[in-house]
Subunit: 474 residues, 2 copies
């Protein structure tokens, strides 16, 4: 049974006041970057700077200890050397702080016994002081609704319903940036490093009952309490999709993970099987993680995995059709043939040579005739065997071979078609030689809530994985 931990996590993800402890003299100091980014992001709460030896930071008064701060402090973010963390935790306890996040590194991940002992002492102090520790060796929490930015990462995006937990700060940053680039809102995210107090099962358990979270992404290098992790994961995955990237699959990766977050990686085959049994979606890299989260939130469930592919929007699309067919099939999708009615409808207006009126459909629409593209999409949408339409376009071919305006007309067509709800549509729009126009078109598609992929491989992999997920769900 999942425990309802929402009250307990309130100060972790929604602190009303934050104290930044560290040094603020130069960019190279963690404290400088944490405070600067919170100020730049416009954190919606009270901010305090704390340094034993400095009096001022970014025009703010610098307190010499946490206990000196006049008002209450919910959350403390710490960038001080590891040797001074225990004294700092005593101050936090005295002040009644609720959550302490450590950017500070140099604990168990150093491989030294001393680091492990220090972590044990820290946890004891947290338990006694009735507060939580985030990390150490992490960049902390990202909650866009209160403009709480994640440590040294200055990014701030829209609020949404995806929540993320990651042992790696770099990876949580990449997931956040990947979501921002796609206009995909995040509810909350945390990088928890060594996870000595709050660990992956804790964050998962909280996200499981958090009504603002509809899908979960997690990057893990290892778990401390395996039994608890798997129990929690199974229960959460039964309620909402959980996408997991496991780092440290190989011997070299596991060695790196041990130095990174002090994690002991188990054999990957064991992990992989267990993740499947627990009902989680397993991905292989950060790009897949973001693709899958986007697909879960933006593409209606299609457990059959039946896709139609439409290519050749402004030039020949034969090669694209062959590639898409191969890649979709290899990704576990099905490409149902069109019925006689749909073929007849297509034949009624596709009269030019070069077009291929099967599925994949290559319209080879040389002039980028918008009426015919619309008719083509509607004909395919009328095919009952098709669940999702994949539209393939090459921005540079369209911009240079036809016109930049043509690209934006095709983007508008995709948006109108998606809004018509005739059938779910996703767009493949690879990078190339017209990046500024392509990025404009992509932004328009993302803003309209479409799923856009940079290659047919990534589209097919995401749609394949997610359709199998929905199929298992029944």
């Amino acid at each position: 049974m999942l425990r309802d931990r929402r009250a307990e996590f309130e100060p972790v993800f929604y602190p009303k006041s934050i104290a930044v402890v560290g040094s603020f003299t130069t960019f190279a100091k963690g404290g400088y970057r944490f405070l600067r980014n919170l100020l730049n992001a416009g954190f919606r709460g009270q901010l305090y700077a704390v340094s034993a030896s400095e009096d001022e930071a970014f025009g703010m008064r610098c307190y010499h200890s946490i206990t000196e701060i006049p008002g209450p402090v919910d959350y403390v973010t710490v960038s001080v050397p590891a040797r001074s963390v225990l004294a700092l935790l005593d101050e936090c306890a005295a002040k009644g702080v609720r959550a302490v996040q450590f950017f500070t590194a140099g604990f168990s991940e150093s491989g030294k016994e001393e680091g492990r002992l220090l972590e044990a002492e820290m946890v004891k102090k947290a338990r006694a002081g009735n507060f939580h520790i985030i990390g150490p060796n992490c960049i902390g929490v990202y909650t866009p609704s209160i403009r709480l930015t994640c440590g040294p990462s200055a990014f701030m995006g829209e609020t949404g319903d995806i929540s993320v937990a990651s042992q790696s700060g770099g990876h949580v940053g990449q997931i956040i940036k990947g979501c921002i680039a796609r206009n995909l809102g995040i509810s909350k995210a945390v990088s928890f490093g060594n996870g000595i107090d709050l660990d992956s099962p804790d964050y998962l358990e909280f996200y499981g009952l958090d009504t603002e979270t509809k899908a979960i992404g997690a990057y893990l290098e290892g778990v401390r309490d395996g039994r608890r992790f798997w129990n929690v994961l199974r229960e959460v995955a039964a309620i909402k999709p959980v996408v997991i990237l496991k780092g440290g699959k190989t011997v070299a990766g596991a060695r790196a993970a041990s130095s990174h977050t002090g994690s002991m990686a188990a054999a990957h085959a064991v992990w992989s099987t267990a993740l499947k049994q627990a009902g989680a979606l397993q991905v292989d890299n950060i790009n897949d993680m973001v693709d899958i989260l986007m697909t879960l939130r933006r593409v209606p469930p299609c457990p059959r995995g039946n896709v139609a592919i439409v290519s050749g929007l402004a030039a020949g699309g034969g090669g694209d059709s062959v590639a898409a067919a191969d890649i979709c099939l290899e990704s576990g999708l099905t490409i149902p043939p069109f019925s006689a009615e749909v073929k007849e409808e297509l034949q009624s207006f596709v009269t030019w040579p070069g077009a291929i009126l099967h599925n994949p459909l290559d319209l080879s629409s040389l002039g980028g005739n918008m009426d015919n593209l619309t008719k083509g999409l509607n004909a395919v949408a009328a095919e009952p065997a098709v669940d999702t339409i994949i539209l393939q376009a090459h921005a540079d071919d369209i911009c240079h071979g036809w016109s930049p305006e043509g690209l934006h007309r095709i983007a508008s067509l995709a948006v109108s078609f998606a809004e018509s709800k005739a059938k779910p549509v996703v767009v493949v729009l690879p990078p190339g030689l017209a990046e500024s126009e392509r990025l404009r078109a992509e932004t328009r598609l993302y803003e309209a809530g479409l799923a856009v992929y940079p290659s047919i491989e990534r589209a097919a992999r995401a749609l394949g994985l997610v359709s199998r997920f929905w199929a298992r769900r029944g």
Copy 2:
């Protein structure tokens, strides 16, 4: 024994005069786009427009037949309906034309007996008239040294030593654009569609002895004369690297290929084994094709496949290190541990916490300290077990967390390091939230001749495949 076909292919790839046959009234007409693009590209030869019913095209006189043209005509590009091609070939024979390329489609790929018979007649006329046919159902030839652009694709890049043959026009365009984006020069490329006269073994045979060709890329959907194809491929692959992408691997892909270029696809497992035995490099998609060609031309052979990974150039790189370790090992690369000397050297200046001084090396260089980055690279370069260094950087983290200037300093550092020839270096620079700065930095790296990849997955896959290729070469 490969035949020397250089004289025979001279008018195919280096025509001195081109006649464009078609209609020039609107953009939707193939003739219009072929002629416009040749004019825009600045083709270095004589251009003629030919149309039975039009008198003028883009300010040029329009001849009503090929035989009306006053000067010699080496190459004819044709965009007329399939029904009129035989009469046109008679004109070509009468004029002494050497190569005829058909954008015209509607032949064997239509699946109709009529189309197959027409193709047989065309080949007869070519043999009798002593000229070659390129296509039909293709976009023709790209030779940047004479500014001969490939049909409706308006792109024009640098001249180099990669040559490409592709049944698909869309795919040849994507390979050309991929090379242009990477500043990777192409010697020549051809899209040959149904390949009824000149077919894949012909282009391969010519490229094999062409002194301007150092690496070959080919996209194939099927071969007519399997024995000849495999014999030629084996001989060419013994002389220079041949990278092959086979379309129509799956049932759906094969069905699409048959409608696209009339190709009959053989079982993929047979192809795959035969390609390996012939000594070719097999890739799965267009991105891989371009990555592999770039790797072959830009990264010195490292048959051991021993890489060092350097992350954390301007922030923590622990997650990147774990990911790189997993992905490189899964791609068949080796990540040798650093020797005691190299570790000692690294420890002498990496004194901050968070850094991981193994291979993968996470410098976690928070301030982006350039001196320390240089020292780090040099220390790794001194490791005899390491063949190639993979530098991982996130443009958006650097630009937003440090400064855009920092990104360009890191790019300069990579260029200087590459120029020092201490050890081959490649760069992983993923897209993100600072695209204009990232593209500037990437362009700088490409212009300096470095290999740059958009993800560690693509870098590892390319380096793994190419190192195994060199290892087999012995």
